[in-house]
């Protein structure tokens, strides 16, 4: 479980996140949603430790992140899997080497064991027969899948996905969403997905937090989001034709 308490973050005197308090639970797809520039990527970067909050606390389990030593932070990071917006696969490595990369550093497994685990992860995300290809030989959807396979390689407790559907066609987007949701439930991970894709939100959003101008305005799930009274959230939701039709009963 991840708990955020009264988190503030700003840049050059301009507040970007204001008093964010939220809890992300295991076995659920926790979504951070909001328009571009609302602060959701900043929140995600604070959660994963790429940025330091100005004030407030982030707890992983019962440990406060700010109290961790750099060695403990390193250990914590090995329990975290991340899918970056652009997949961030290593150009110098093949598909299988990308997935084996964290194992090489943090396990004492033999090369055969690493390969076996990597192939298992790749099968989980349905990437078969592309072991020796380089990232630039893969489509965007395939890259995302390999990114997920790498993220789950060390069996993480926490999975963070930054805009997992950006640049993907609707069909591939749904496949990636379902993959994230299925893996979350199968491995009981605490998954946090940062997105503004309404299809994803309605498909897999077990717990949703809506950020507007740096403030967490609303929390709920994918069912309650369509019945919200929050005007800003309704505007955001109704920008999507499908969601608007559902709300308007069409």
């Amino acid at each position: 479980m991840i708990k955020v308490e009264h988190l503030y973050k700003g840049f050059d005197g301009t507040p970007v996140l204001k008093d964010i308090s939220v809890t992300y639970e295991p076995g659920k797809c926790n979504m951070i949603i909001g328009a571009s520039g609302s602060g959701k990527t900043v929140l995600l970067k604070n959660l994963i430790g790429l940025m330091e909050p100005d004030s407030g606390d982030i707890y992983y389990g019962d440990r406060r992140m700010s109290e961790l030593t750099s060695r403990e932070k390193m250990k914590l990071r090995q329990r975290i899997g991340i899918l970056f917006q652009g997949s961030a696969l290593f150009d110098f490595a093949t598909v299988i080497e990308n997935v084996m990369f964290p194992m090489e550093f943090f396990t004492d497994w033999s090369p055969a064991q690493r390969r076996e685990r990597a192939q298992y992860c790749l099968e989980k995300v349905n990437v078969i027969g592309s072991d020796d290809k380089y990232p630039n030989e893969l489509s965007g959807g395939m890259q995302k899948r390999v990114g997920i396979a790498r993220a789950i390689a060390l069996n993480p407790e926490f999975l963070f996905c930054d805009e997992p559907n950006s640049g993907l066609d609707p069909y591939t987007s749904i496949l990636i969403d379902r993959l994230i949701s299925d893996l979350t439930k199968e491995f009981n991970m605490t998954t946090v997905v940062n997105t503004h894709d309404m299809n994803s939100i309605l498909e897999i959003g077990d717990k949703i937090g809506f950020i507007h101008q740096g403030t967490l305005l609303w929390q709920g799930d994918r069912h309650s989001i369509l019945e919200t009274d929050c005007r800003e959230l309704r505007d955001f939701v109704c920008a999507n034709t499908l969601a608007r039709n559902i709300i308007e009963g069409r």
Partner: protein
């Protein structure tokens, strides 16, 4: 401007501190060292070789044309060519050429990894990205670059010999006698030391600029250009200081 400059120097040394942390796994470090040696040093052999061969020939012609004096023994042409190659060309000039080749390679590679979040991904896995990406490059270039200097010297002398043999600008035996005359082993050490130092500067400054690249592909290009300009100036400055310290 001065504050920014001083901040950059501080950041550079903090960056080196990250780079020189103990590798997570030595096995991975040795493997990367072999990869980087191939990519940075072995791949430079052809460029260094061709340039050295031609410069050696040109030096013979230029020196011979400046020493058309019957009193001066022709063997001094060979001697001067050798000394020019050892003292300046094979280390400083080759380092300036490598600043372009290796510097842009390192800076653009690491810079593009930065802007495509590959470095963030490594950091988030708990890997010391600076150590993994930069330390093998630094060690490979610093330790193996004297071999490039020695290769450059050998091929420079061969280039001069080819010109001597083919044009008979001076008698070939005089050239051979000249390149063997008044040999001072310390000059070889001095040149190898300079080469190591310059290559350390090239790889560390290029890696530093790439590691902190910002602003997309334009930023990567700017960081690459900046690293070449800074390194070239610093090589000339370091050349002056090291020469003063070691030869006087």
């Amino acid at each position: 401007m001065i504050k920014k400059f001083l901040e950059s120097i501080g950041e550079y040394f903090l960056f080196l501190k990250m780079v020189f942390r103990k590798p997570e796994k030595w096995k991975i470090f040795w493997r990367q060292l072999v990869v980087e040696s191939d990519k940075l040093i072995l791949s430079s052999i052809l460029l260094v070789g061709v340039i050295s061969l031609f410069i050696g020939g040109v030096l013979v012609i230029q020196t011979a044309s400046n020493l058309e004096n019957p009193i001066i023994d022709k063997m001094y042409i060979g001697y001067m060519v050798r000394e020019s190659l050892i003292l300046e060309f094979c280390s400083t000039m080759i380092a300036l050429i490598l600043a372009g080749k290796m510097g842009s390679n390192i800076s653009s590679e690491i810079g593009s990894m930065r802007i495509t979040e590959q470095i963030d991904a490594m950091e988030m896995m708990g890997v010391n990205s600076a150590g993994f990406l930069v330390l093998p490059k630094l060690v490979a270039t610093t330790v193996l670059s004297p071999l490039l200097m020695l290769l450059s010297l050998a091929l420079g002398l061969v280039g001069g010999w080819i010109v001597v043999e083919s044009t008979y600008i001076i008698p070939p035996p005089s050239y051979i006698t000249g390149i063997k005359a008044f040999y001072n082993g310390f000059y070889i050490f001095y040149s190898c030391f300079k080469m190591s130092l310059f290559c350390f500067m090239i790889s560390s400054i290029a890696a530093f600029n790439g590691y902190y690249a910002k602003g997309g592909s334009l930023g990567v290009g700017q960081s690459s250009t900046r690293s070449i300009v800074i390194t070239s100036i610093l090589i000339l400055l370091a050349d002056l200081i090291v020469t003063q310290l070691m030869l006087y």
